[in-house]
Amino acid sequence: MDVDLLNPPKFSVGQELANFLATCEILLKAWKAICSISKNREDSFLLIKDEDVVYVIFPSFHNEDFIASDSKYGECNIKNQKIFSAGLKGNDDKPALVHKGALNRFLHILENSDFKAKMQDLKEQNIIFVGHSIGGAVAALATIWFLEKRLRNSNSFCITFGAPLFGNATIQEAIGREDWLGRFCHVVCKYDIVPRMYLAPYESIAKPLDAIVPHWRSKMGIDCVDVSHLSMSEACMTILNNVLKCTSTVANNYPGVRSPYVPIGTYMFCSTRGAACFEDSEAVLKLLHFSMQCQEGIPFDQIAGTCISEHTDYGCMLEGIDEALLNARQFANFVSNSSFEIGIALELEAIGVGAQDNHAFFALKKAGEAKNEQEMNTEKLNVKLSKNQSHMAELEWYKTRCKDSNTGYYDAFKQHDQKKDFHVNLARTNLGDFWDEIVEMEEKHVLPSDFRTRNKWINAGTTYRRLGEPLDIAYHCRTDKGNKSFLSDGVRPHRHIVLEKWMIEKEQTRTGRGKRGRTNFASLSEDSVFWARLEEACKASVRPQQEEFEAYVWTMITNKSISVEVFLEQSSFMKWWQQYSQIQLQSPQWRSSSPLFNFMANQSWN
């Protein structure tokens, strides 16, 4: 791989992003909307229109939502429900896990309210899903549900306050693939216990929560109960202790069982000194620990109290940040003159962790560098792709010439007896190397998470596969001595398998216009392994296998996804057909029942 990590990112936008969010009013409006949810609306949701934006607010604080006890961390498979699409899975097809309490609440609202109908009416608007506490996790699920509808004219976004982690790395991968990570913004107070509490197993937090949740409910004006001060403070200490143990395991990468949950989206950490945003999941996980851990000079019980009180204090916190931003701040000077490093230092100062925290500093630095590398790799590939256009043109020209000599480029290349065949082989291997590299980079996560769903690359990859793979098949047939089928395990190049998977997954997300039926035969067969299937059919000794191939060809003909070049006089397909039809003609009913026979006899491709 290229050695140019010496090109560090120029900036880190965390603080600017947070300052923008804190002053653009959207957070304050969202928080006010949450506070307006009253007890009798607790089972449902609330719509508030403001200018061109609709805020969809989810309630929080059902005791039963917080604790889901059928699994260690309260997680469950999202796929059990029919509400979400099958595409919501990992790159390796592993299932997506989410918090069961939040999922059940969302399903409850979906089924027992006019939520669906209301969302139908909102089609062409800016929608912001908002939730506090466990309601934030519900809002995030609602956002995913809405994004999966892929409505073209609506713009949706999710803002949460003090929400717990709600999903695992798999669902994060799925969201990243769709390029939706930028649509989630989670506001987290420096000490608020809730955003990190699901890093601990449910059994270690369930009991203290029993005491604490009623306290929160009364703070938010939902209930009016008195919680004994003594039991509260004990509950606070217990939960902080238990959660800290787990966050420190995670932050320091100690071995052991880890909670499945990961941060998904952008996290905005707030302290009395300011705020900063972070999007790297690993880095956020670490900051969840670093920003809460005990600091010298502050007694443990005081921190424990703050961990609970900050959870309901977002209003004050937001106003405080506002104030902190507008008051001119003078910062201590850092030794560095790099705008990237100073940016990180300012972020750490703003969230109250402090620029001198080396762990946090390097975590953020590493995250910024990794992201930058992804961007730069994409740029490099863009340049390479346009350079590779000439190889594609070469393949295409080769195909044209072969067609003119009535052979078809697959068979011409298989025979390999002319200078032009030798020439085109160079273009073939160059293209193969290029796409191998892309697939490898994608699997090594050094490309942006949504790379494999970008239209540009899907289209380029599909065109390449359809034009190039027949040559790979021909090459295999010509050189393979072991008579191994191209389609048998480990023969078909990995790049083609992957590119086909990318295309299929993308097709599944393309809704709306649906696939337009073709009126003419394709210039390239849509199934890039057509020739490999033909070779298999030729070798097949049993009749059912041959008949299966006949049926396959006929389907391709009916939806016009086959290239007419297949029917060129000298093509292997025609040779197969001659042999096959000779045999089949021995049974009289085949002649009348086979549509392919008619088609071939009439030369209907012309």
């Binding site: 992003l17 002053t23 976004f157 649509r183 008051n327 100073i342 300012l346 961007e375 256009q389 073709r518």
Partner: protein, 611 residues
């Protein structure tokens, strides 16, 4: 290009005097002559009236609403061919239109310009906005080189991004100078929604007016004895908060143009649309900082005010008189991309002294990061610009030359146009030509994309070199794109070239040429000047060959085609399109046949075949 401060400073005082006189006289404007310069000062406004008429959140409206003074100040998008109007502050626009209709302003300007005089518009407060509009209207009417300038005091923003870009595209930006003091809240007022500040203005404007009246003719006014109204504090907070949102939004985009969060929130959040253009002179007690980098202007507007702790200074809207009585040091803001961030890297330059005086000294790391991002943005534009020009030159010598040779070879052989040869695609030379076509397409696609996403200087699309090379490229190579499209039968899948598939690069190049209004030097075209000619031919041939089409439809289309070709017949390279093996020649014969002995609009062309 730096700002030449020496020519500006001595006049500063006179300008302010004229605009002060205007605001006191109650006339639309006051004028005075100094040497060969006519100075026109517009009246400021002491009431919130100028703002009250607005119905939009930030008081903006389309610049061409109810008038035709600013027709070129629009944005054209090659993506959809739509025209987007520039937005300006409605209060200022209405006042300007009022003055135009009810005074002899236009006559006076015309007379001055015809008499080879320089015209200088100036104004304080809303008067400054009017001065800007008057300058824009004059430049629109008299062209880029007209000696018309605007100097505004305390009103640095007037229009949106479309306006700012259009001004730079036209090359007018150097005609505008905006003077702003560090503590002038009013100068930042358009960054906040009108509704959030209007109630305070009812109190604050009269106060400022009163203090302006105390400003004597020398500008050596005393600071008001009367304490500022209590609303000022709240007012300041609101303006700062909205300014903070705009500035950080812009800075995020300068630092990380691909940021997903701002992109996702953009449609939901309505920030102030106002964006700067021209030169900015930021005045503090220590002198003046001159800023040309437009991305740096908003951060300085915000950070200089937010660090201004002195209450007396915050009411600085009328303090412009005293500015030039103090320190007259002036420094240009330069080298932002490498602006020092640590004490050890900082040198005490004239620029650093001015930055420090504005509260953007070395301690204000956040402000300086924003300035670096502005510098990075400027640098990126410059870098893209030189890269693209270099690439254009390189391809001109290689790929473009080869394609011209390819075409000219067929032209001299006189039997088959290069269009037909390329479409047949039989020879290796055709394949090579295709590779050259692809390389050029990649470059021009990139240029079009960079212009569309504003990653090149705004005036790049007016660059003569680009237009000349681009036009030649379009005329020679677009026929090959058309040939390729029909060669591969793409029209059967995606419809005809003109309607569905013409690449954006060609649309953009054609539009840029039209906007530039470059003189066409050659009378006898050696090449067909309508680069889409072959697409018309293909489309009508397809139609005529399709047995499913209704006869009368075909007839109408044929007539349309003939009229179109007749209209551009003087732009055709007849020696090429009428070659023996040209599909156009065949088409002509067919059409002639169809017409029988009847009307045949293309008979002059037809007759040339015989020759």
């Amino acid at each position: 290009m730096g700002f030449d401060s020496s020519s500006f400073s001595p006049r500063y005082k006179d300008l302010l005097k004229v605009s002060c006189a205007a605001s006191k006289s109650g006339n639309y404007f006051e004028e005075t002559s100094s040497g060969d310069t006519l100075i026109i000062g517009f009246c400021g406004s002491s009431s919130a009236n100028a703002f009250n008429k607005t119905t939009t959140k930030f008081g903006e409206c389309a610049i061409n609403e109810n008038n035709g003074y600013f027709s070129s100040l629009v944005h054209w998008s090659p993506a959809n061919g739509k025209i987007q109007q520039a937005l300006v502050h409605k209060g200022a626009l209405d006042k300007f239109l009022d003055i135009c209709r009810n005074s002899d302003l236009e006559t006076k300007v015309t007379k001055a310009l015809e008499g080879n005089k320089t015209v200088l518009f100036t104004g304080h407060s809303i008067g400054g906005a009017i001065a800007t509009l008057a300058t824009l209207a004059s430049l629109e009417k008299w062209g880029k080189d007209a000696p018309v300038f605007a100097i505004t005091f305390g009103f640095p923003l007037i229009g949106d991004e479309v306006l700012a870009r259009a001004v730079r595209r036209q090359g007018w930006a150097n005609n505008f100078f905006n003077v702003v003091t560090r503590g002038d809240v009013f100068a930042r007022i358009l960054l906040a929604p009108w509704e959030s500040v209007c109630s305070h203005l009812g109190v604050l404007l009269p106060y400022w007016q009163k203090s302006a009246e105390q400003m004597n003719d020398d500008g050596t006014d005393e600071i008001m004895k009367e304490a500022p109204p209590t609303e000022l504090d709240e007012h300041l907070r609101i303006v700062l908060r909205h300014a903070c949102a705009v500035v950080n939004f812009m800075t995020v985009n300068n630092m990380e143009p691909t940021n997903k969060l701002t992109a996702g929130l953009k449609p939901a959040i309505k920030l102030s649309p106002y964006r700067p253009f021209g030169y900015y002179l930021f005045c503090s007690d220590n002198g003046t900082l001159c800023v040309e980098n437009y991305e740096a202007v908003l951060p300085i507007l915000f950070y200089s005010l937010s660090t201004c702790k002195d209450q007396a200074n915050v009411s600085d809207h009328t303090g412009y008189g005293k500015v030039f009585h103090g320190n007259t040091n002036i420094a240009n803001l330069e080298g932002l991309q490498n602006l020092p961030l640590s004490q050890s890297a900082a040198l005490s330059s004239a620029m650093e002294i001015q930055l420090d005086a504005l509260g953007i000294g070395i301690q204000n790391a956040q402000a300086r990061l924003a300035l670096r991002a502005a510098g990075e943005h400027e640098n990126k534009l410059r870098q893209n610009f030189s890269e693209v020009l270099e690439e254009l030159n390189k391809l001109e010598k290689t790929e473009m030359t080869k394609l011209k040779e390819y075409r000219n070879k067929f032209l001299s052989q006189k039997s088959m146009p290069y269009y037909e040869a390329f479409k047949a695609h039989k020879e290796e030379t055709d394949f090579k030509a295709n590779l050259n076509r692809l390389k050029l397409a990649a470059l021009y696609d990139r240029i079009e994309n960079l212009v569309d996403t504003h990653q090149l200087p705004d005036d790049f699309q007016c660059n003569e070199e680009l237009i000349r090379k681009g036009t030649e490229y379009r005329l020679y190579v677009e026929p090959l794109d058309i040939a390729n499209y029909y060669r591969l039968g793409k029209h059967e899948d995606s419809g005809h070239y003109m309607k569905n598939a013409r690449p954006r690069r060609y649309k953009a190049l054609e539009k840029w040429l039209a906007d530039k209004k470059m003189e066409d030097k050659s009378n006898q075209p050696k090449i067909t000047m309508d680069s889409c000619f072959w697409a018309y031919v293909e489309e009508i041939s397809c139609l005529m060959n399709n047995p499913k089409e209704k006869e009368e439809d075909v007839k109408t289309q044929c007539d349309n085609f003939q009229n179109k070709v007749k209209g551009i017949s003087d732009q055709l390279c007849v020696e090429e399109v009428l070659m023996v093996q040209s599909s156009f020649t065949e088409l002509l014969k067919k059409l002639k046949q169809q017409s029988g002995g009847g009307v045949f609009p293309l008979s002059p062309l037809f007759n040339m075949i015989a020759q």
